[in-house]
Amino acid sequence: MPFFKQRLNFLFRSTRGLILVAIAMIAMETAIFGLLSGPMAEFGVRDVVVRLLRMDLVQAEREGRIIILYHSIAMAVVAIETYMVTGLLRMKEFYRRSVRLLVTIGYWMAMIFGMGFAYWGHNWALHGLYIAGLTLVFFAGVLLTIGLWPWGKDYRQPDPAYAHTKNGVDMERVAFFATALTTVISALFGAVPGSYFGNGFETFLAENIIRYPEKTTLEYSVIGHLHIMLALIAIMITLIVGRWLNFKGLLHKIAMPLIILGTIVLNLGVWGVVTPLEPVAHMIIYVGATPAMLGALMLVIFGWDKLIREGVAGIDRPTVLQKLGALVRDPLRFGPLWQMVFMNFTVSGVGIFMAVRLDEIFRMWPAREERIELTGHWHVLSAIIATIILLYYGDMIGLKGRVRRLYGWAIILFSDLAFASITVFEMKRLFVSEAAQQPLVNTVMLLTDLGLAMLLVVLAMVMFWRLADLFRRKGRWAEELGQDDLALEMKG
């Protein structure tokens, strides 16, 4: 029995164990349910999986199934970020333990019962348990927000290298607090229409109603919710990476107010879509998104400068190539920042271009073409966030030497290959006609599938390694059990 007790203790009570379990849960869900769409459906794999697993896929319920699938994965991602925040930032032990307990039970319930309800018939008891899971994650968020309260004397920032107010209030903690608080409010923003549309399967995917000139308040609320939640998950991972890389100095002092301001204004803009401010809500959103992205840019500049300086330390007059070599020497630290830059080509750039040329170009195409761009760019953003988590996780578990480089570069290169290919696929109508598109479509889909498949292979290798490690008496898990405070491992 001590065998199981020790392992369960690691998996469900240590920071690294909790993160490992959540990554494994997402990996399994992605592996199984990824077989139901795209090329797997074309190859006939879906039909086999549906038969083997005895899934009950009613055509009219597809949209409801997908919404539950997205939510169940999102809850696990939120849990991972929560583990990271509670591992990186100081807070009372009561909050740390309570938040972790609630979010863990919550995302497990959401995943297991949600998917059971969505894919294996209408057992309403499962739906109730799924909602209970989401509710627990929500309350974990409320407690986390309280735990992150930045104005307590215990959390003052005495170090002048970090952004703080005259009174010593830690601006970075304020940024974490603002992000957590607005996340909780924005979750409600989705819960209200969710309780209405979730009554049975009378629901819709936002991308399917995008062109309707008249939308109801609840429809606006759903559209706002999905956008802001993803944006907040992205902002939170930016703050987490900043803490991990020990973001400080002048750029930190500029970035933190920008991120705080950006987060609050962005949220106000999104919430504004259900108020009389709706006609100008998009303008408010742009006003909020700009400083938030500038704050992330400061982090990238800081991080890359730090990597270069560390890498060329001891060299009198480093050449450009030496600096470049230093920058990319450690893919696990270079990668998260690079992915943030790459996001501008595959997500923000596409989104801005679409917004600017919407009526002239994109609305001249059929709605189903516009849907491809909409779904494509937010899938890419979600996946970029996932790769950043995986890169940080690689560092967290102490990958070293060649394995570290292979793991890091595999994630960066394969994911970016997939994201770039999908971006070409999304925008293909700009340069190829419908009748002549098939060779291009074949190539980009092949590259996308190759990139994603290799990414999953890398992830599977790590998961199998960690699984095998659990059977060793003094494996990596035993070391990690005693390393619970991520803040102790900040870089630099």
């Binding site: 459906a41 074309e42 055509q59 009219a60 597809r62 949209e63 049975g200 399967f201 009378e202 399917n208 062109r211 309707y212 000139p213 008249e214 919407l358 009526d359 609305r363 001249m364 195409w365 059929p366 709605a367 189903r368 006609s433 419908e434 009748a435 002549a436 598109q437 098939q438 060779p439 291009l440 479509v441 074949n442 190539t443 980009v444 092949l446 590259l447």
Partner: protein, 300 residues
């Protein structure tokens, strides 16, 4: 020597993306035995509309074409309408008059004024018909395929010319689903590859290496076997063919505050989810594509 071995397939793969598509590549030709001049009567009454099965009553009888308008039918119309002056050639397109829509100035709404608008382009290499300056004709092999590359104006004009109209979305939906149940597809609750022409359905007209998915003759999925390819009879309860897949179909509604026109049925380029009866697509009325066609409705 390792590097060239690795990079050659990669270069070949990238170059394949730029490969030219022979839009006039030969296509199998089959007589489906379905008459494109046939009409089906849809009697007045209730049916279940939309994804969530809202009961809706259409309180009048109407007729709707059993198949999409074919290339042969449309080219005959073009020749006739050009001869009697209803249409004319303007630059690289055939144009006709449309009396315009009421404009409400809604966000993203484009005003459709009374003017001449494109019916079909004459210079699109993907077109399934030819025009030698005087005569229109179907490209060989496409005679009994749905007319594509036709704008909403072109579809509206055809139906009107022959005393009909484009079906409203509700008329289209009732004709596809029938009065009895909440089926998601015209033939029932499940979809198989041999039910309809959709993306990667492996029909005899598909060439995923080059031309991609191509249209099929109207009424192809009627239970017959063609050169060893067995189809399932996929008619709707009222006997309509191709109400799911093959080509999207223009419908006639003009909605307040938007210039978009709505399309139904999914196409050869759609995944099966878009073949569900309630799925809507829309585009500007001047839009045309090899994946868009139409059928007409009329009063009995």
């Amino acid at each position: 020597m390792k590097r060239p071995r690795l990079s050659l397939p990669a270069i070949a793969l990238l170059l394949s993306a730029c490969g030219a598509v022979d839009l006039n590549a030969p296509i199998p030709s089959f007589d489906t035995g379905v008459d494109p001049d046939a009409w089906a009567l849809v009697p007045a009454g209730e049916f279940l509309s939309g994804q969530h099965n809202e009961p809706v009553v259409i309180d009048y009888d109407y007729e709707i074409m059993a198949t999409d308008v074919t290339v042969t039918q449309y080219t005959a119309f073009l020749g006739q309408a050009l001869a009697d002056g209803a249409l004319h050639v303007d630059g690289g397109q055939v144009v006709g008059f449309y009396p315009g829509d009421e404009f409400h100035g809604a966000r993203h709404e484009i005003e459709i004024t009374a003017a001449e608008y494109i019916f079909v382009p004459l210079d699109d290499p993907a077109a399934r018909f030819t025009f030698d300056g005087t005569t229109f004709a179907a490209r060989p092999g496409y005679e009994n395929h749905p007319m594509t590359d036709v704008s909403w104006f072109g579809a509206w004009g055809y139906c009107r010319y022959f005393g009909g109209r484009l079906p409203t979305e509700l008329e289209w939906e009732k004709a596809a689903r029938g009065p009895e149940d909440d089926r998601p597809f015209p033939w029932g609750y499940e979809i198989a590859r041999h039910n309809a022409n959709f993306y990667s359905s492996r029909d005899p007209f598909e060439d995923m290496g080059s031309a991609g998915s191509r249209s099929s003759p109207v009424g192809f999925y009627n239970g017959r076997t063609y050169d060893g390819y067995a189809t399932l009879n996929s008619a709707s309860p009222y006997g309509l063919y191709d109400m799911a897949g093959n080509v999207w179909q223009w419908t006639g509604d003009v909605y307040e505050g938007q210039h978009y026109r709505y399309l139904r049925g999914g196409s050869k380029d759609s995944y099966e989810m878009d073949l569900r009866i309630w799925v809507r697509n829309n585009a500007t009325p001047t839009y045309f594509s090899p994946g868009v066609g139409f059928r007409c409705a009329r009063d009995p």
